[in-house]
């Protein structure tokens, strides 16, 4: 029973993370409910507004995030086997891809500001129709909230890589820590996988 304690600890931590993720799903669930309501109220204008988004960048970002999720999965596997270098490299790759996502998102925001699409940077009159304005409001709130989550994730991943590298998180004993952050990162990814079709592909 000597190693029962760490595995018990691991299960406890994971369970806590799962519950936190459940509450995160409810948080974005509220936004999805708003998106559904908008779509039902103004199907046409929402579709028209959605057509003006850069779905190519969104698709690229989907690929970037999915790849980073793969990297995180590899990091967890490496951590469980006690491979420090593999873990650090995979974590840094995932964090780097996360930064790539944010960079692409910033480029996209920039383009939308120039095209007078992004609320808070665009006068209300510039929108095609009030519902288009509403849709872009929702787009901004949802993607910004998601970007905040990505930023937090990048910081967590990089911090984890640093701690593993410095051996302040010993492997494979500390693999649960990698697993917990990995779970969070997967959720950030999954939320994007829902946001992308809801925002970009409802045309």
């Amino acid at each position: 029973m000597a190693d029962a304690a760490p595995s018990r600890q691991r299960d406890t931590t994971l369970m806590g993370m799962y519950l936190f993720l459940a509450s995160e799903i409810m948080l974005f669930g509220g936004l999805f409910a708003v998106a559904l309501a908008l779509r039902l109220l103004h199907p046409q204008e929402v579709a028209a507004a959605s057509r003006r988004l850069h779905y190519g960048i969104g698709a690229a970002n989907t690929v970037v995030l999915l790849t980073s999720s793969l990297a995180v999965a590899l990091a967890v596997a490496a951590a469980e086997m006690g491979k420090v270098k593999g873990t650090v490299v995979s974590l840094l790759a995932a964090a780097g891809l996360g930064l790539g996502f944010l960079a692409l998102k910033a480029v996209e925001y920039g383009m939308e500001i120039r095209e007078q699409l992004l609320p808070a940077f665009t006068p209300a009159e510039a929108f095609e129709s009030p519902p288009a304005h509403l849709f872009m409001d929702l787009y901004l709130v949802a993607t910004a909230l998601h970007a905040v989550h990505v930023t937090v994730g990048v910081v967590l991943l990089a911090g984890l890589a640093w701690r593993v590298h410095r051996r302040s998180l010993a492997l494979p004993r500390g693999a649960a820590g990698v697993e917990v952050v990995g779970l969070y990162w997967h959720l950030v990814d999954v939320i994007w996988v829902f946001l992308y079709p809801i925002l970009y592909l409802v045309r």
Binding site: H42, P43, Q44, E45, E128, S129, P130, P131
Partner: protein, 323 residues
Amino acid sequence: MNRLLTFWGGQASHHAHQVDTLFLGLAALAVLLSAPVFILIPWFAVKYRRGKPADRTHAADRSVWLEVSWAAIPFLATLAFYVWSTRLYIDLYQPPAEALAINAVGKQWMWKFQHPGGQAEINELHVPAGRPVEVTLASQDVIHSLFVPALRLKQDVVPGRYTRLWFTADTPGSYALVCAQFCGADHAVMGGRLVVQTPADYARWLEGMGTDGSLAAQGAVLFRTRGCSGCHGSAGTVHAPPLEGLYGRPVPLADGSVVTADDQYLRDSILLPQAQVAAGYPAIMPTFQNVLGEEDVLKLVAYIKSLANAPPPPRDRDDGGPP
């Protein structure tokens, strides 16, 4: 404070009687269901007081049958009341066709009413006794709620949509009419009275009120002065849908769906013209949101309603619009 607020209470309609009966029935049910608890707990507390000798043998720890029955029986009893109350409620959504149509606009912090003949009043609503009245409610700003305690009725007034409230007041008299939904600083004084009059008195009152013509006629004036006629009129130079014969008919939209041209559709078409564009027409109509208040829009709706059975006018040019 507003002296008019003092006209409260009373039963001004058959519906009010029915609600009171329902309420008394429910109160009796509540007493019946809670009586075991209110009687038994003090009785047990005395009878089985600690240290007091009493027969305490065969005290059960559970009894599924007992528990299921005290879950199910009260529930079934409430279901009977559910059917009763839901029927009364559904009636509130089925106004008779011949109801007198009155418009109400709530704004911080007053009520404005418009009668079909064009008579307008503030914080007072005159209605004839014995005749169904259907009030169409619109809000200029925040959510209000038109509440007449004597009718046992209220309806929230939500900006952006028309809500409705209908009633038949039986007893002539003066009753409180208030705002029930918190609407800002002077919420508590946003009220006045509902004056129920005999039909003859009501007719006299209508005559005594000055008016600039019926609601529809006032709408027609707005139609010309606010520039609507420039596009929608017979001399219109722009390709815009004709409004004659529109009300109550199905309208095909640009996105392929079909809506009925009801009050809400007409209102939205004036204030949010880009939302539901009629098929075959360019989406060029500007919004009148900052130009027209809800009262004006209601007048325009009344005007368009009055054209429901008018023949489509000959156009100056054939613009190839849909039939």
